[in-house]
Symmetry: C2
Subunit: 429 residues, 2 copies
Amino acid sequence: MIITANNPSLKSWITVSENNDFPIQNIPFGVFLTKENVITIGSRIGDYAIDLSALQQLGYFKGIDLHEDIFLQDTLNEFITLGKPVWRMVRNRIADIFEENNSELRDNEDHRKNVLFPVDEVEMQLPVFIGDYTDFYSSKEHATNVGTMFRDPANALFPNWLHLPVGYHGRSSTIVPSGVAVHRPLGQTLPKGETQPVFGPSQRVDFELETAFITTDANKMGERIAVENAEDHIFGMVLLNDWSARDVQTWEYVPLGPFLAKNFASSISCWIVTMDALEPFRCESPKQEDPKPLPYLQQNGKHAFDINLQVAITPDNGTENIICNSNLKYMYWTMSQQLAHHAVNGCQINAGDLLGSGTISGPTKDSFGSMLELTWAGQNPLEMNDGTKRTFIQDNDTVIMRGYCKNDQVRIGFGEVSSKLLPAIPFEK
Amino acid sequence: MIITANNPSLKSWITVSENNDFPIQNIPFGVFLTKENVITIGSRIGDYAIDLSALQQLGYFKGIDLHEDIFLQDTLNEFITLGKPVWRMVRNRIADIFEENNSELRDNEDHRKNVLFPVDEVEMQLPVFIGDYTDFYSSKEHATNVGTMFRDPANALFPNWLHLPVGYHGRSSTIVPSGVAVHRPLGQTLPKGETQPVFGPSQRVDFELETAFITTDANKMGERIAVENAEDHIFGMVLLNDWSARDVQTWEYVPLGPFLAKNFASSISCWIVTMDALEPFRCESPKQEDPKPLPYLQQNGKHAFDINLQVAITPDNGTENIICNSNLKYMYWTMSQQLAHHAVNGCQINAGDLLGSGTISGPTKDSFGSMLELTWAGQNPLEMNDGTKRTFIQDNDTVIMRGYCKNDQVRIGFGEVSSKLLPAIPFEK
């Protein structure tokens, strides 16, 4: 099937400014609440949100086999189960409707009023119901930094790391969309040099710069997913801030992994950018020669994606400080390898599962994807442009992550995931 | 509110044999499919499944404020959100309907035909949609056994173990009800003395004898649950076999915990026994004096439950071998402590979440809750009554777990969780 929405010469009758993440070649999917309190699945071009259920009711998807309420939903899960051919047809059709020479909607003011809303006037929701959330640990630079800081610089990576994409299960119930503020968590920590833990607000709240992908129904329990086919089961991607309480983590994580240090909140961007839209930005992933992975993880061709990633902190009443510029292409294990590994034991993957990359750090100090690495465990504070310093995130700081791809023809972006860290809720005992 | 269903002198007009797990004092909740392909929420007395949606349609719940389809559902989640006062009213009313002197249903043959089915003639389903699954590691004997085997007998417990109920997130998508067979998983393992991993069927598939509890909506994100109130948010309990691939686990679990070693399958029993039914079996939990837990985990009174647990293996075409007798009362951390800890950082707990105890081992060798411990990592094979030996679970073995409480007046049980281990599905690469 042809991905006509990707044609770089396509222009929309909606004005899209040069550095906007959402040209007509993007056509992401999300869920929003209108001013009239209607929840709908939508898309976006430039600074306009597109009500897809309204478009459907007005007959714009005639000819595509969709049941009549497919977009009048509060999650994308059911649409996602329809599979890649349908996602592609719908995305192409949306591009067609908004193409500058198509007058169907452009010249119908009544229809436009029902379909288009300035993005400021809608309230973005979590785009999927997330059944299971898995987080990987697939950036070699990140794993090396952490291993160097806490263990042994000469053996920073554990023996399994180069053989498999290390991953673990996270908590679905606390995944929130961009814009939802998060409270500093309380927890047990072990003060330096002490043997008895103490209880109180975490003193080391950190972000983790990640991307995540959303799957469709991919296999039945007991069945595998071949690495060659894995990409067919990926609907699209979002940005992910995997909030972490480092001091809680250090005390609790042995031997079963992080738990309360992570499950108080994870924030995602609201527009799911499809793999079709990201297709022009495929690139080589890091070489996997020494060691070669086992056959079920071997793949040929380009399976990484060149996505620029950025983190900024905005202090309360302050201005923005860009503190990290990284790129998803640094990730050692590809998304298709992560998915094939996840299902190699027969683990069932469902529509709406979220699989995070793990912290994406690049090779240079300004490309590290967490405060832990940027300040080297707090040793080298970052100076903000208001003169204050940060080792970890302070109360009322807002953490903003952005991501976009760009070539000489088109820019495809994710918008942002932005969330404010509120003070801990006071506790009695 | 009075829990009349617990009255030990109650008798039902349905005959219940002496060692049956489901006397009129139990009244568990489950979901089943009838021969006519209707899915309904149900209960059970003796060897009869009770169709609660039929009972409701026939007017038997008049006077209890329930919406008309509350039992005509394929999961208990919505019923669970109604909260403890409603669970209790419904359970008491069911006991009332089936009490030997109550003729309403007893003498109405037409109604009985619509309401009662021999348990052999219904197909039990997963009773809840499980949003998030957490597994703890709360048996001191189990943690000590594992620490002794793999690390240092003198320091078998990690420093955090006595200060907090260690837990981690599991996979919801592969939790299956009793009766569903499970395939031996494939995975990476590191052969002894080697440095390069190999790929193939796990050679060390194990069970873990656990119980698990199911919660209702308990808090909003950011809020805590006080340990004193935690039990109000627990709907009931099931038996849990947390299948584990020990060789996969050993290789993959550092540093983020078990992943593919666990997420291929977890099996639960089908009838949720309410905390009200278990009330007569409260008992003291192990003393927590050295160290005392932090204040948010301190509790007074009896918060453990005296539940006998048993594991058996039935080889293919063979007879049953009982290999373990344990008891939930040995668990060091109580369910209320687990729940209070889980939410102390503001992690949101939802209706239908499943929280596992971790392997329940007792103090004696025949009370260890896994093959890993029973055979001491394979050193001491168990002999089956057909003369064959087991270090771990073999293909086509069926693992059966049972649980019941008993005092001199009543026996309340869970039935069983039984699942057969099928051979690995052959793989190509």
